[in-house]
């Protein structure tokens, strides 16, 4: 728990245009411990997805560096699993094939039957075993996202990077998937390190050990808040507690500060 799993040092990303340079994120510093569950929240355009892409290794910072287990990342890696905001399934593969294809990149020597077995196990975890032969176009947005989550989980990475994974999932399945995420995060032997980008404040409080609040233009870390509710957290009683309400209010204020300032101090009706 003590060693830092992910470290960001002065990470900045500037998009160079012909005339103007657009600074997407600026001087981000934080480190995440092994097994820690961290949420990143912030208004849209604060660069939280961009930041996650950098940690995924799909893009590289123009300044600063990102270390994983003390080593600078040079691209994507098998130790990191990603769930994108958009449904990132391959539309020409059935749900099961999508998982098997992902698993095949990891386990080159395993038989097709073994991989299908793993795929089926994870598909039933997200409640979609009966849909394993369906193509993504035959599934709803929420179902597609559950398949994508199953794929990321099935590959059993030590780090999970998730970009608003439950945004398109309906309320009931969201709760189920959140519970599932917690279960998989802490599945006995070794906790995974999770970074969850979300705009759902309740989700962030319920799931995380720590919340990183970002502000926009340029994207910077505004505040880090430790969430020390004991686990396992009981949803219904937690929401009623005063501590929860105070925390929530604090986050809401942080979240919307930016917005209010931007509009010029006028009251904003949301």
């Amino acid at each position: 728990m003590l060693r830092s799993k992910i470290t960001l040092k002065n990470v900045s990303l500037v998009y160079e245009d012909e005339n103007t340079d657009f600074c997407a994120i600026k001087d981000i510093n934080f480190s995440i411990k092994k097994g820690e569950f961290v949420s990143i929240i912030g208004p849209s355009g604060c660069g939280k997805s961009t930041l996650l892409n950098l940690m995924t290794g799909l893009n590289f910072p123009t300044d600063g560096c990102i270390l994983i287990d003390g080593e600078q990342i040079k691209g994507t890696g098998t130790e990191r699993g990603v769930v994108f905001q958009h449904y990132s399934l391959f539309p020409w593969m059935s749900a099961q094939k999508n998982l098997v294809f992902g698993l095949k990149q990891l386990h080159r020597n395993k038989s097709k039957k073994d991989l299908e077995e793993i795929a089926d196990r994870y598909l039933s975890m997200v409640g979609l075993k009966d849909f394993k032969n369906k193509y993504p176009s035959q599934l709803s947005g929420g179902m597609q996202q559950r398949v994508a989550i199953a794929r990321a989980f099935a590959m059993n990475p030590s780090i999970l990077l998730m970009d608003e994974p439950f945004g398109a999932v309906d309320a009931k399945n969201r709760v189920i998937l959140q519970e599932l995420l917690l279960k998989l995060w802490d599945n006995g032997s070794e906790k995974k390190t999770v970074i969850l980008v979300t705009h759902d404040i309740d989700e962030a409080i319920l799931l995380s050990d720590r919340i990183i609040v970002m502000s926009a233009s340029p994207g910077t870390v505004k505040e880090e808040i430790n969430i020390d509710f004991e686990r396992p957290r009981e949803r219904s009683s937690l929401i009623k507690s005063v501590k929860y309400t105070n925390l929530r209010n604090k986050l809401v204020n942080l979240f919307y500060d930016d917005l209010i300032e931007k509009i010029g101090g006028a009251e904003v009706v949301i």
């Binding site: 699993g81 539309p91 992902g102 590959m155």
Partner: protein
Amino acid sequence: MKKLLSATGVLFLLALLLELIPEKREGIIPLYYITVVAFLGLLYILIAVFSKNKEKVETVGDVTAIILGLLIVWELATAKFDLLDKLLFPAPSVVFELFVSEWKELLKGLVSSLELLFGGYVLALLVAIPLALFIGWRKRLYRAVKPLTKVLGPIPTIVYIPYTIALLPTFKASSIFVIFIGAFWPIFINTLNGVFNVEKKIVDSAKAINVNERAMLFNVILPAAMPSIISGATIGLVLSFILLTAAEMIGATSGLGWYVKYFSDFADYPRVIVGIIFIGIVVTGITFLFDKIEGYLLRWRR
């Protein structure tokens, strides 16, 4: 029963009742006309009885009605009332009779044509798709090749025919080469664009699961670009038909295009019509097959 009283049924009876009118032209065996009409009617009834898809039955009925209508006009204008020039417009029975007596020739022509068509077309598929896949995936190479395709692609392939005939030893080789060039460009350009325009999120999610270069090209980029590839392959196929017939009419000694050209040189228009109808049937068959393959390859898009 009500179904059979529709326009199709009425036209069917009309087409048969026509035969009560005596022929004005001589030497016609009406049996061939009657057989074709009866065959069309039977086909429709079979589909109407066995198909559960109402819309399909309706469409088949309408198509049959249109064909029957055309047949009736043709029969009346030629065999029955002799309104048109006998040499230029043979009666249906004359044409259908030739189908029976000429089938060996037609089949021979078909084999010879298909050799050229598939030779050139399959070669184009085999060269254009991997090449475009390889180039489209490398951004710098793509930017270099793209302007070249804009210059070379639109040159009408027919202009290559005389040069190709001079260049290559046999007619067969030069026809295959011309068909190859004609089919190559649309397949190549479409595949290239398809590969270049694969959605970033698809590429990103492939990278995120750490696919290697080979899996990226063949398991991700290729299927993602498949809709573009198919549309290029369709244009390529149509161009291949045109070039095949053009090439055969210019220099062949066999094949369907040759068949039509050869008999029109002798003013044997019944055989010319037989050739044209047969080409129509062959093209329809190939297109049908192509659509089936397309439907299978893009089954995930429904």
